[in-house]
Amino acid sequence: MIEINDVQKAYGDAIVVKGVSLALPKGGITSIIGPNGAGKSTLLSMISRLLPMDRGRVLVDGLDVTTTKSDVLAKRLSILRQDNHMTARLTVRDLVAFGRYPYSHDRPTVEDRAHVEKALGFLDLEPLADRFLDELSGGQRQRAFVAMVLCQDTDYALFDEPLNNLDMRHASAMMRLLRRAADEFGKTVVLVLHDINFASCYSDHIVAMRAGEVAFQGTPEAVMRKEVLTGIFETEIDIHDIEDRRIAVFY
């Protein structure tokens, strides 16, 4: 379980995350949704110790993320940010192999190599394994980074906008894959998602944020309601039930 206790972050006078307290259950997929500037990514960065918090604390299975050694946490929790602006020119396989760094540091083992091949296969990246990242399309590159995170094999995997750069086919394939990671391998997946319909169709739990605070949380059925979403996104949103799925229409 990830326990978030009164976490706050301000940039100058602007408070981006306002004393958020939240418990993210272990297992399944939790999606964090909300309008731009709601503090979703900032919260995710603080949970994953990429960003120091001004106040409060975060416990991951009882480990305080600010005081626990970083290499210990790296075996429990992984994070993929949205801007993977990179300079180092790596092949897909090299990148994925860095997911094993927390376990074997500078000496990759045979077992590590097996993990790498498995992650490559899981994301259909074998044909691209020896290509350089800068030779790939945005979507292929995104898949390579996700493969790296899976290769890191942590109980908790956090993704900031994992569907960025993905077309419809790859976006739904990515969500099905995260679903498999949760269902078959027992991973806890936490996502920041822009597309509330993906959140609705694939999550077990949805957290809606607005202006730095948690505005609402619950099951997709509870969150995907006209009066809830309209308040959060400040725009007219209709909800339709289509084949067991709750779809928001806001165009």
Binding site: S70, D71, M86, A88, R89, F98, Y101, D106, R131, E135
Partner: protein, 327 residues
């Protein structure tokens, strides 16, 4: 750019590496004093003396300085996350020079190693300042980063020039800022072995520098301390630069050309590419020095000038290259 089979992609590199022993031998026999196989075993032993006191030290110095500066350039590019950064476009060299000048003004009697230590300290301060500045540039345009470095270097250099002018040391300043191996003699280049040792340390930490090149979030995610890697890299870059500037003077662009060529061919997995960077750096410096010795024979063109000309052209190529990768 699909890659051909692995063996072929490395073929040009292997050829370059093979040429290094040849270049080294050539370096031993090129020069005004007549050193050849026949004179070497002549009766007066003069040629042998020239070989031992001047030619061999010069060749070793070329190899060590070339490898060290090329590796330093690679590390700088990973730390600054920019392809156009190297010690002479990041204020490192200028800071080291200011450091030496300071020693020469206040404690000219210090041993060379202490001078190098002061130069390294200045280099580290200057380079840290550079990294701090580029971290604060909101839109990190790839071209803005080296521009900031060159401007910072210009400011530091102006300070050096001012004091050098006031205290009549412009000539010494010229010696440090323009690389020249003609003064390398036995007993005056050994400091460069420090650079060699640091190159080995850099290789041992190669995977960490690769990780740093992927950014601080990436580094933290796999449990490494980004700041610590940056500090290690800064220390290596500063010391290598200081040692090279103190012994032979600055070799511009070297840390830019070689790492970029290797990166284009092999990528940036430094565990794999760093040995090539070091080897090619050594070979390139050897070749430029030999050219400098031959082009105006019997006079010498300083290697800084030769590398500068080749390097500027290459820098332009990198900037203008089509489908330049936006780093």
């Amino acid at each position: 750019m699909p890659r051909a089979s692995k063996d072929w992609s490395q073929a040009p590199l292997v050829l370059c590496a093979l040429s290094i022993p040849l270049l080294s031998v050539a370096s031993l026999f090129v020069g005004v004093s007549d050193v050849s196989f026949s004179t070497l075993f002549g009766s007066d032993g003069r040629a042998l003396q020239v070989l031992l006191i001047s030619r061999i030290p010069r060749t070793i110095a070329l190899v060590l300085a070339g490898a060290g500066m090329a590796v330093a350039g690679t590390i700088m590019q990973m730390l600054a996350r920019n392809r156009f950064v190297e010690p002479s476009t990041a204020g490192t060299v200028e800071s080291a020079t200011l450091g030496i000048l300071t020693v020469m003004l206040f404690a000219p009697g210090l041993p060379v190693i202490a001078k190098a230590a002061v130069a390294a300290t200045f280099a580290m301060a200057g380079t840290s300042l550079f990294l701090a500045i580029i971290r604060r540039i909101p839109l990190r345009s790839i071209l803005l980063v080296p521009l900031v470095g060159i401007m910072l270097g210009g400011v530091i250099n102006a300070v050096s020039t001012f004091f050098a002018y006031r205290f009549d040391m412009l000539q010494s300043l010229g010696a440090w800022t323009s690389g020249d191996f003609s003064g390398v003699l036995r007993g005056r280049y050994e400091l460069l072995w420090i650079s060699f040792a640091l190159t080995v340390v850099a290789y041992m930490a190669a995977r960490r520098f690769t990780v740093a090149g992927m950014g601080d979030d990436f580094t933290t995610n796999i449990g490494l301390n980004y700041r610590r890697i940056v500090a290690l890299g800064l220390a290596i870059v500063s010391m290598v630069t200081a040692v090279v500037v103190v012994t032979v003077g600055m070799i511009p662009f070297l840390g830019l050309i070689i790492p970029n060529v290797v990166s284009m061919m092999l990528g940036d997995n430094l565990k794999r590419s760093l040995p090539w960077v070091a080897t090619l750096g050594a070979g390139f410096v050897l070749a430029c020095d030999i050219v400098g010795r031959l082009i105006l024979y019997p006079y010498e063109v300083p290697i800084g000038t030769v590398v500068g000309v080749v390097g500027s052209v290459f820098f332009l190529y990198l900037l203008l290259r089509k489908n330049a990768r936006v780093a």
